[in-house]
Structure formats: structure tokens, C-alpha cells
Amino acid sequence: MNREDFPILKNDFIYFDNGATTLKPKCVVDALDDYYLTYTANAHRGDYDNSQKVDMMYEEVRKKVTQLIHNQDPREIVFTYGTTDSLNMITFGFMEPHLKKGDEVLLTKAEHASNVLPWLELVKKIGIVVRYIPLTSDNQVTIENIEKVITQNTKVISIAHVTNVIGDIRPVKEIGALCKKNNIYFVVDGAQSVPHLPVNVDESNIDFLAFSAHKMLGPTGVGVLYGKLDLLEKMKPTRFGGGMNSDFEADGIVEYKSVPTCFEAGTPPIAGVIGLGKAIDYLLKIGMDNIHKYELELKEYLLLRLKEIPNVIVYNPKSTGGIVAFNLDKVFSQDTAVFLNQFSICVRAGNHCAKILKDELKIKNTCRISFYLYNTKEEIDRLIDVLKKSDQIFKIIL
């Protein structure tokens, strides 16, 4: 849908790597241009018209984010540099001062490096314990399996809403309720969910949510950290500098601004935030429900058509997000990606930054097709035609 809004699609190529980053509609790029070409100014700094306009535009985006993730208070929205940055802020700004030696954090082996490595740092720094929620045979997270590993020491569950390797959707609403019952902080990596389906932080009792603008039609270098207001008020800034303090003296007495500004030290990615606002407008106009339904339709169509190719192995036929992980039998994933590239089809090969998932999947590397709203069944048809030539793969790539 909406292909005409994406100028890049005029080129003859098929983009199936939306899990990595997405293409940008013209309106988002126009919003960046507009800021850079007609009203450039810093935020929160000046008394002249352009500066006030920037201020207003920037703060307006917080409200748009609340519409997207269904919280009420724009103060709960912190602009960051991306999911990785948000998760680091949560881990080192909130968890480090609030957790103690022996406290347990539950992750899964399907998590992205950004939701594993900060926690492993805390293991070294303060002696928390990381445990992994066992996945079911088709790599899902279930309430039963979480209950099996919860102990009195469990203080945090930190998982992706949708995983980037196999695209399974975790039951966040039920997990959120479980967290509430057991007094556990619920941290959600929304990098692959916020762009693709409705997310409701209130309904799911999510304490912290992280996501990136560039995976949802927006610019690179911008992300969001949502936190419940009372938690953000207890979070420590991890970056210090201009814009986040209200006063300081030479003797080291510093007063920080209130939430969320105290977390946005330095000049923020202003154009990026404004671009993110445009991307949110665009997505909400289509409707997150519609986007999710459409991607699922594409996924089902792809799975159906892949049946025509005998040497394809699909690793996640049951997951309900718009991601298909596959390999050609006896072909290394990177060779498949290079082969598809010869036909201008972009897919991702590798472990997708989920290096410990290999323990569960029993396979290290896969090719990943990740859809977005502008993909079409015709593109899938073209992919299938190409895959049908894969017996010629070495002729084509060597």
C-alpha cells in the first residue's frame, strides 16, 4: 500500500529488510528539509520566532508519541538516540541504582544484543543475576514458562515485544499483569513492535518501552524511551550537560530540570524528532491494526508460495509478525543473500544480533525477510521466481 509516497521505490528493487531499517516516505523527508531550510533553530533556547516554533514542534511530537503507544502524559516520553540508547538509559539510569546483588533479571535467548549486553554489564558491575525464560519448541514465550523461572528475587523482566529474528509476538498484556502481581519491573524492547502493530503501554502495564524512529519510517539517530512517570522521576540521568540542568554552582551543587528534559542533555536530534512526528502521523492515518493485518497477509502469502520451492527451510512458520526466517538447504545464508542481491532483492543474512538464539534454533545464521506496509504480493511473486532459479546459485554468485 501507499507505494507512491516512497520516492525510493521508483528504483527497481525489492526491499525486504525492514527489520533493519525502513524506507522513508516523502512527507518525513520534507519535514526534515523544512526544518533545515526554513526554520532552523535550537530547541528550548531562544526568544525569537523560529526558536519558538522549533520548541513547539518538538514538544508536539511527545503528544503524538502518547497517541501511538497509548499513554496519557507527554512527560513520560523521553527522546533518545534509538532503542539501544533507551535500553542503556533504563539499565544504567534506573536499574543500576535500584537493583542489588542477587536480584534476578529475566531475558530470553532470542533478545537483540541491545537488550542483553547492558544487563550483562550490570552482572559484572553490581552482581545481578541474568536468567533466561525457556522458549517453547516453536520459540515462543509463554506465561507458564515465565512462571517456572520467577523466584522471590526476580525484579525485572526485559524482553522484546516482537523479536527481530523470528517475529514472534509476545503476550505482553498477560506478562504485564504477571509483573504487576509479582512486583516486577516490565521492560519492553519495542523496536520491532511499535512500527508494526498497536502497542498499549497502559493496558500492558509496561514500565519502560524502547523503540527507534528509523524502523518506523522516521529518521536515523532518534528513538523514544517511555517510562511510567513515577519511575522516570526516580531515574538518574546518564548524560550530563546543557539543557538538562536548571542551575549549578562552581562548588558542584547542581539542580536538574524535571522529567523528561533532565534526560535530554545537549542539543537533541531536533530535525529527527520532528521527522518522527511526521512518521507517526503517517502511520496512525493508516492505522497500526491495518498495517499488522496487511503484513500478516503478506507473510501468509509468502509461506504459501514458498511451498513451491522444495529446498527452502522456514524456521518460523507459526510466528505472527511480518518476518520470515529461512535458508535454502545446504546453502549458507550469506550466499543466498548475495544471490538475491543479483536480482535486486534486499534480504538480511546472519544472526541478526541475536547471537545466543543459536542455542535454541540449533542454527546460527538465517536469511530474514521482514515486511512493511509498502511491500506487495507482486514482490513476493518476483522473489519466488528468483528462488526457483536457486539451483543455479553458484553460477550466479561465483
Partner: protein
Amino acid sequence: MDPELRREIIVDHYQNPINKGLIIDDTYLKANTNNESCIDNITVMAKIEDGRFMDIRFDGEACAISTSATSIMIHLCLNKTVEEVEELMAEYEKMLNEEEYQQEKLNELIVYEDIYKQPNRKKCAFLPFDSLKKIIKQYKERGQ
């Protein structure tokens, strides 16, 4: 090089690599190199005696280019001295970097003569030699 022949050599080494499978023997030196794309993962082990490669083995999961290059490397380096291997490596690096090189020294490795046209695959073609370099370094550091 004739593309058909080139393909045949690469595919043959890819599908039937030489000395695949590691053994447990601590007289061997060992090195692992992950390609920067973080996909290819090859471990090479070698037994060097009196400055000569007596055995080289490998294992791992990698693309057609890396795997075949490993197999060809093993084929060419077996029974060679460290100096000879270093010379081969230097010549090979020149070829990959589009510098002047002596083709006759490279033997089957010339199948990768055009690989510079695909910068992301250049790394794959050199991957096994990265491991071999590490092994030679270890050998020299041991002062044997």
C-alpha cells in the same frame, strides 16, 4: 580466468573441502576469525614443526567464498615453510587489493582475482588467512 573453470574450482573446494574437522591435539596452534559481517565463523588449527606447516585443519560455518578459500589455502600451505606461506599471503593480499602481483605464485588462489569488484566479499576471501596470520604470530611468539 575462464568463469566456468573458476566456478568449478570454487564449488569443488566448497562442497568437498580439504581437512575439514578439528582434532584434539594441543601441539596444534589455533585461531578463529569472525568476518566483520559477523556471519562467517571459521576456526583453523595448524601444526608447525621446525618452521614448516605439517598439518592444517579447519572447521566452521561460512559462505562459499570463505570456505573454498580455506580449503585452497590448506591445499597450498601444507608442507610449506612459514616464510613461504608469508610470501604467498603477501602476494594474495596484493591481488585482493588490486595491486601488481605475481600470478604464477598464487596457483588456485587466482580464482578470486575478480573478487575486489565485490568489496563485501573480499573479506570472505581473506578470512582463512587472517587465522593463519594469527597462528604464525603465535608460533613466532613462542620463539620456536
